[in-house]
């Protein structure tokens, strides 16, 4: 369903993603883990047509994001790490715009929007402006919106950040259901290891732009001779705390500015 081959992204001298190859099968739940600044979000951006790779190729549902962006975009839904809602619109209007942009027919759009808003418990607030929402509510709305068009592949970039355990469980239950009933492929990143352990069928760990391990949770634990995924993760990526994320974005910004001058 997703196939990345020798994917590389350079920002100036900085190698954000370095010769990454992996495959996600149809209907699989796949976790993409790594410390801050490891290259997770950059990889997702290349998979989802937002960034063009420096080299290497991607096939998403058989489509190439660089040459056939529109076909590719029809195949997936995404919940971004940072907010992408329109604060000046209501929850309902945000859902409507999304549904129309993705060609969801009228009746179905209204029915599903209602179902999803009820599911994330925002139905009674559907006519409130998003700027009045708390962080957690925005997150829930964002998730509901990403699911509206029932895509073949769903990308979730740290979807559960800032959610309480109740909502988190609720969300994963829904996603599993979707995965089971519609065969939706799920690709997600998270910093909660127990979440990856519990939900994902296979896990890839990326660090310094390179994939350092791929396999089931059990395989990763065996490989590192540890008893939990968290320990396996630490064994693979070391215990040094990263401040790479800021640096990477800084570099990116400097680059962009330099390029634009």
């Amino acid at each position: 369903m997703i196939k990345a081959t020798n994917l590389t992204k350079k920002f100036g001298d900085f190698l954000a993603v370095d010769d990454v190859s992996f495959q996600v099968k149809n209907g699989e739940i796949f976790a993409f883990l790594g410390p801050n600044g490891a290259g997770k979000s950059t990889t997702i951006k290349m998979l989802t047509t937002l960034l063009n790779p420096t080299s290497g190729t991607v096939a998403l549902n058989g489509h190439d994001p660089v040459n056939h962006p529109d076909e590719t975009r029809r195949s997936f839904g995404i919940v971004f790490q940072d907010p992408s809602l329109d604060d000046d619109l209501t929850a309902w209007e945000n859902m409507e715009i999304h549904g129309i942009l993705y060609d969801v027919p009228n009746g179905l759009r209204k029915r599903r929007s209602e179902e999803l808003l009820k599911f994330v418990e925002l139905w009674d607030r559907k006519d409130s402006l998003v700027k009045e929402f708390s962080g957690g509510m925005k997150r829930r709305l964002e998730i509901a919106r990403g699911l509206l068009h029932h895509p073949k592949i769903i990308f979730l970039d740290e979807p559960t950040i800032g959610l309480d355990p109740q909502t988190r469980n609720h969300l994963w239950a829904y996603l599993r259901e979707l995965n089971k009933n519609e065969g939706t492929t799920i690709f997600f990143t998270t910093h909660y290891m127990e979440e990856a352990d519990r939900i994902a069928q296979r896990i890839a760990i990326i660090d310094h732009g390179k994939i350092i391990a791929v396999g089931t949770s059990e395989e990763l634990r065996k490989q590192t001779d540890t008893s939990s995924l968290e320990d396996a993760f630490l064994a693979l990526t070391g215990k040094v705390i990263r401040d790479e994320e800021a640096n990477a974005t800084d570099r990116l910004r400097t680059m962009r500015r330099a390029w634009k001058k």
Partner: protein, 248 residues
């Protein structure tokens, strides 16, 4: 079509909901009409140029369209920083259509702003020579709005954040306004200024409004419309070109 419509509608809704922005953008034209329209009226009259408020009003309408339209275009930076742009960019809608939807929305808002300023000018004593010409005048306003929204979009596609904004304000928007003949007649200008005014697309918009509303054009209505349409097409093309190149 429906997708373009929904992006258009989004912009209209946002505009109608931001009361502060609406009121704020009316304060400036009011001030100009009051201070210049009334303040310089007698001097203008004595110089044999007629009623200054009448002369000034199309200029102030043009000014408010210029400001609102360029800001609507530049809002793109905002959308990029606060994320909504990403939502549209990953959707199966062509970049060209996204740009068109946004631009039409911004242009409609700017046109509405122009019409409101025209109504205010009427209260202040602006008197069109021919009331029927108000309708084509609104058409001209829309053309101007389209032109400057595309220009704003183009600028926003090239900028990373709001830091460059002050530069744009001082080196682009202000000169476009002050050198356009919004405030002074285009006849008998010093050569340099006459040439600059000829390069400034806003001059043609305001001139067309004067031709329609006051029977007092300088370049000629046909020339005005020709230049406005051509520059709009060029800016739309450039705007969509740069918009397509945005990477988030």
């Amino acid at each position: 079509m429906k997708k373009i419509y929904i992006l258009w509608l989004r912009q209209i809704k946002k505009y109608l909901r931001s009361k502060s922005r609406m009121i704020g953008s009316l304060a400036q034209p009011l001030l100009f009409l009051l201070a210049l329209g009334y303040g310089l009226g007698s001097v203008f009259q004595q110089a044999g140029q007629g009623n200054y408020l009448n002369f000034l009003s199309p200029g102030i309408i043009g000014m408010s369209i210029l400001f609102t339209a360029i800001f609507s275009g530049i809002e793109l930076i905002w959308d990029r920083q606060f994320g909504f742009l990403k939502e549209t960019l990953v959707s199966p809608m062509s970049r060209f259509n996204i740009m068109i939807g946004r631009t039409l929305g911004g242009a409609t808002v700017a046109t509405a702003q122009g019409v409101v300023v025209m109504l205010i000018a009427l209260i202040f004593g602006f008197h069109p020579a021919n009331w029927l010409m108000v309708i084509p005048a609104v058409g001209i306003m829309f053309l101007m709005a389209l032109l400057f929204t595309s220009l704003g979009t183009m600028i926003a596609s090239l900028l990373d954040d709001m830091q460059g904004f002050q530069l744009i304000m001082n080196f682009l928007i202000m000169p476009l306004f002050f050198l356009s003949g919004a405030l002074f007649p285009l006849q008998g200008l010093p050569k340099a200024l006459a040439i600059i005014a000829r390069i400034d697309p806003l001059s043609y918009g305001i001139d067309a409004l004067r031709a329609l509303l006051l029977n007092a054009g300088h370049y000629g209505l046909g020339m005005d419309i020709f230049i406005l349409s051509s520059v709009t097409l060029i800016f739309l093309w450039l705007g969509s070109y740069f918009f397509k190149k945005i990477q988030v």
